[in-house]
Symmetry: C2
Subunit: 398 residues, 2 copies
Amino acid sequence: MPIDFAAKKALFHLPEGLIYLDGNSLGPMVRTAPARVDQAMQAEWGDLLIRGWNKAGWMAQPRALGDRIARLIGAEPGTVVLGDTLSIKVYQALASALEMNPRRKVVLSDTGNFPSDLYMAEGLTRTLGGQYRLKTVAPEEAMSAIDETVAVVMLTEVDYRTGRRHHMADITKCAHEMGALVVWDLAHSAGALPVDLAGVKADFAVGCTYKYLNSGPGGPAFIYVAPRHADVARPALSGWLGHAAPFAFDQSYRPGQGIERMRVGTPPVLQLAALDAALDVWDDVDLREVHAQSLRLQDQFIKGVESRAPMLQLATPRSHQMRGSQVSFRHPEGYAIMQALIAEGVIGDFRAPDILRFGFTPLFIDEDDVARAIGILARIMDYGTWDKPEFKLRAAVT
Amino acid sequence: MPIDFAAKKALFHLPEGLIYLDGNSLGPMVRTAPARVDQAMQAEWGDLLIRGWNKAGWMAQPRALGDRIARLIGAEPGTVVLGDTLSIKVYQALASALEMNPRRKVVLSDTGNFPSDLYMAEGLTRTLGGQYRLKTVAPEEAMSAIDETVAVVMLTEVDYRTGRRHHMADITKCAHEMGALVVWDLAHSAGALPVDLAGVKADFAVGCTYKYLNSGPGGPAFIYVAPRHADVARPALSGWLGHAAPFAFDQSYRPGQGIERMRVGTPPVLQLAALDAALDVWDDVDLREVHAQSLRLQDQFIKGVESRAPMLQLATPRSHQMRGSQVSFRHPEGYAIMQALIAEGVIGDFRAPDILRFGFTPLFIDEDDVARAIGILARIMDYGTWDKPEFKLRAAVT
């Protein structure tokens, strides 16, 4: 059954008058989330106290929600677990992958990867010492740079700045042919476009839930390990909840079965409750349809902006094959332009040095929103209303 | 002004008829927490959306709450930051400490340390490779085992099983004399007893907030770095929020100033909101008074149990100097006895193989609770009502 986008939109809390094109940074709240979190607070924590770990299913939640996310990213059941932040999950995946390919010492990534992924890889290679090193190339050179020195290819499928999308199947195949493993970061993929981790034979994947999946600020990350690796991968962050028998309190670490070993510490129950509510909205959604609708909205936006605000330069590839769920434009005064937009109720975001980002998330953004956003942006550019001191003052978080 | 314990007790949500002696595992909820979290959900996330990072102060929260915890653990302002889980914070602290003492390769800990701390150290030493190794000794041998091979002494101040307390000042001094650094885990100290990190010249400390500090299930951990080390310590988990300029999106990592560098990924805003509410209860509390009252309650409990249920064997030291905030008894049928207690509304917990744990947290436990708990435990032992199949069936989380 096709998605009833208007019905889905009604499930989100969207402040009156706001056009929210920043679901790629922090997704909006589903209307049921406050009650679900309040239940976790009062009926579970408040009344059950420590008994909530068993009676409210808190301990099982990271796996149960992992299975619901698995469906959205083409992963086999039992291969995904929630927890920690995306940076921590990158470290885990990369450490395990490197250990599985011990004769090689190079991590290959690209300059379009999210900086935290690169920083975590830097920290890990430094800790590993020896000849380990991180090599980054331009996004379009990522595939050709895979050679027989590369132990692990670590890429984010969709570039956080430009929205450029890697060809996951081809790169994974190429990496395997060259004897490398692949870690995919799905931060801008999960909930945005169809992902087929099992189909492309991905080795590891990680992602976050507070963008497209609406889990709320600081919602937990997830990690995927291919079933063929799940009982082989050694966890570098060997926390007690990844132990084979956490409540035996053994003195030595023994990794748990399969994806269980990628758990580290106590799961964030309140954040997981918010994710639980959000996934109710996602459970029946076909990501192919979501992405097709997103591309329609993107095309509408690109066409409108290019005709009515031609001083903005498109930074996103025109090919549908190479696009995620966002459209980016460049302008030297991008920061001030974005502030002017936000002041008029169109929320996108800015990424240094000159990128204006707009996310097109069809579960709560429609053609009318896009048309209005184009009109407001065109007016700001026509009248130069961005050129004010208050719009040039940089905030702590941009 | 002395603490008005009855007034404090009224600030907690405590289910009718329950005697909750498990605040050392998961602290109860303060009454204001649901409204505070709901505000973070609806007024902040719901209405501000991405603007919450600046306008609701989300980005500053891990440091702001860190300063409130700093007061409770005798840390200098600006030396504590919230985030991640305790296991992750152990890894961070230990990795930084080891790198600061590069000529030595031994991490010294004890068998009374929480297993996850040992597991994380195992994982880290394995990742570091070379001659790095973890050495564990019996708790009472920890100080004498510090020799010139030890790079870092990593201990939990209060033993999670027995409640035995290390002498933090003496061990820290001894470690420094022997050229070692010290990482203190305050999981069973923060909010339980007076800690003086600055006074004892601790190097690193970590702790959790969901036990004595009432932040709720999966609440974030904290890390302390002594001011003299804060700009020297290299973070192994070098995430973007620990970068000197996270929103510059540089390709290479540069550690932030001081404790900022111990941040990793996006902070868990909802869990931090619950902690924020809880700390309102803690802000005016003198931990010396809390611990003195806890010891009184412990003495009452020990005396009552030893006279009325003498088959239980005290596992906690009798000396006040060597006690935290819990009392443990041993019994071969400890698991079943604890289940029988829980069935009668006295909640403590069990730790394999034979430990019954009882936490004495004076902000919400009083003499009357202790007297009733003793009576119920005595009756269970007198009549052997623990000896039932349903009490012997082990749950997933014990």
